[in-house]
């Protein structure tokens, strides 16, 4: 497409997802090759995002009066750009990705009291492998133990405790758990099945063993591909970045964020 054909109207429509897929692709390819168009497009996208960000707070006090659209009437008609057809699905995917690894008390309406007799049956004596240690000491109700995790389904993890007795306590929805680490998987491209931690020379080294990788397909990282990562201690959050090599396709980057005490 000739760059001279691309007007501000086109750029703002592209940023707002208002162009047809075919037109959007053509315009976008031209934009990528032209810094000036790129900057203008990005600025329109930024203003759009900022407007949408403040949209929720632009409520009655500024919408009242005859000079303003009646916003409340058609809120259900919010249109998502075509390239991203269903924000609800995305939200659900994001939530699903974080099940068991993303520890958020607000997501955990119920965490049974392990001290209650009826809940003691949840304690497991069998090692429903793989169970891995992910942290130092965790606490759940009145119980204390080693913080452990196990994989359940693709991209899903349970976090629990290994008690001094050797028994295990799991709950897929982790809540009021005082733990030394929070694990948060922030990418749909990969997940970590197991982590073990080694302290060495004052740095925190973490061995990434098995990886769940992209496209909703589980692939195990070949043993020869395992990587050893050294994490600096200059941040509250440890960020692991690693490259994974799927059986087919390009290498992909993934990250694991580990929050916790040093």
């Amino acid at each position: 497409m000739d760059r001279n054909q691309i007007t501000d109207e086109t750029l703002v429509a592209l940023a707002d997802g208002e162009l047809s897929e075919q037109e959007a692709d053509a315009v976008y390819q031209t934009i990528l090759e032209d810094d000036e168009l790129l900057n203008r497009f990005a600025a329109f996208a930024e203003t759009g995002a900022l407007l949408r960000h403040v949209g929720e707070s632009v409520n009655a006090e500024v919408t009242q009066g005859d000079n303003v659209v009646d916003f409340q009437a058609a809120k259900k008609r919010i249109r998502i750009p075509q390239i991203f057809p269903n924000v609800r699905v995305m939200s659900q995917m994001a939530a699903a990705l974080m099940i068991g690894v993303f520890v958020a008390p607000s997501l955990s309406p119920y965490w049974p009291d392990p001290l209650q007799d009826e809940n003691r049956s949840q304690l497991q004596t069998e090692n429903t492998s793989p169970i891995r240690t992910i942290g130092e000491r965790g606490r759940f109700g009145g119980l204390r133990g080693e913080l452990i995790t196990r994989s359940t389904e693709e991209h899903q993890f349970d976090i629990g405790l290994r008690l001094a007795s050797g028994k295990f306590l799991f709950n897929g929805d982790v809540g009021d758990l005082e733990q030394p680490f929070k694990l948060m998987m922030l990418s749909s491209k990969a997940g970590v099945v197991s982590i073990s931690e080694i302290l060495r020379d004052g740095s925190r080294d973490i061995w990434i063993e098995d990886l769940l990788v992209t496209a909703n397909k589980r692939q195990e990282m070949p043993s020869g591909e395992q990587k050893f990562f050294r994490i600096s201690n200059d941040s509250d959050a440890l960020v692991l970045e690693f490259r994974i090599k799927p059986e087919s396709g390009d290498d992909q980057n993934a990250r694991l964020f580990v929050f916790g005490k040093k």
Binding site: L32, A42, R52, V62, R77, E241
Partner: protein
């Protein structure tokens, strides 16, 4: 210092990913883009007061990161435009000041100061209306909405120093 809770808030908000998708036109790339920015925040490479509107700041950072990425991808054919591998975060001297400029309150005040047509249009857009919805609501042709949107957004960008 930015805490994990702040990051949780950013990540759990689909707006950022949706915005990144509008820039990248690819969900995986958009996720990478957002994660890049969050990573920088986590690494404390950017010193920013957590009291400021982090999401607004993230919107700014994502834009710059996107532009940097596109320019880097053209590095082999256009070395001149690549700033020695530095990125937005390297160039940033004061993230807190930049973030404060993007405060939603300031944005709302700026919108209120625009002419009536722009005010109606942008407030409608802020509430999530599509161009077609706005066309019906404002009883204006969609083409007019589009051209007016461009003009008003340009005006807003200028006033907000975007």
């Amino acid at each position: 210092m930015i805490s994990p809770n702040h990051i949780e808030q950013l990540y759990s908000d689909p707006t950022l990913i949706r915005y990144a998708v509008s820039l990248c036109r690819s969900k995986p790339d958009a996720e990478d883009l957002v994660m890049d920015v969050i990573t920088k925040l986590l690494e404390n490479k950017v010193r920013i007061d957590p009291q400021v509107d982090l999401k607004a700041y993230a919107i700014r950072a994502i834009k710059h990161r996107f532009i940097d990425n596109v320019r880097r991808s053209k590095k082999q054919v256009d070395v001149q435009n690549v700033e020695d591998g530095s990125d937005y975060f390297d160039r940033l001297s004061d993230a807190t000041s930049e973030a404060k400029v993007l405060d939603p309150l300031i944005l709302k005040e700026t919108i209120q100061a625009l002419d009536e047509k722009c005010k109606k249009l942008l407030l409608g857009f802020a509430q999530g209306f599509s161009y077609e919805d706005l066309s019906h609501k404002l009883e204006t042709k969609t083409g007019t909405i589009m051209s007016r949107m461009a003009r008003c957004r340009q005006e807003l960008a200028t006033k907000m120093a975007i």
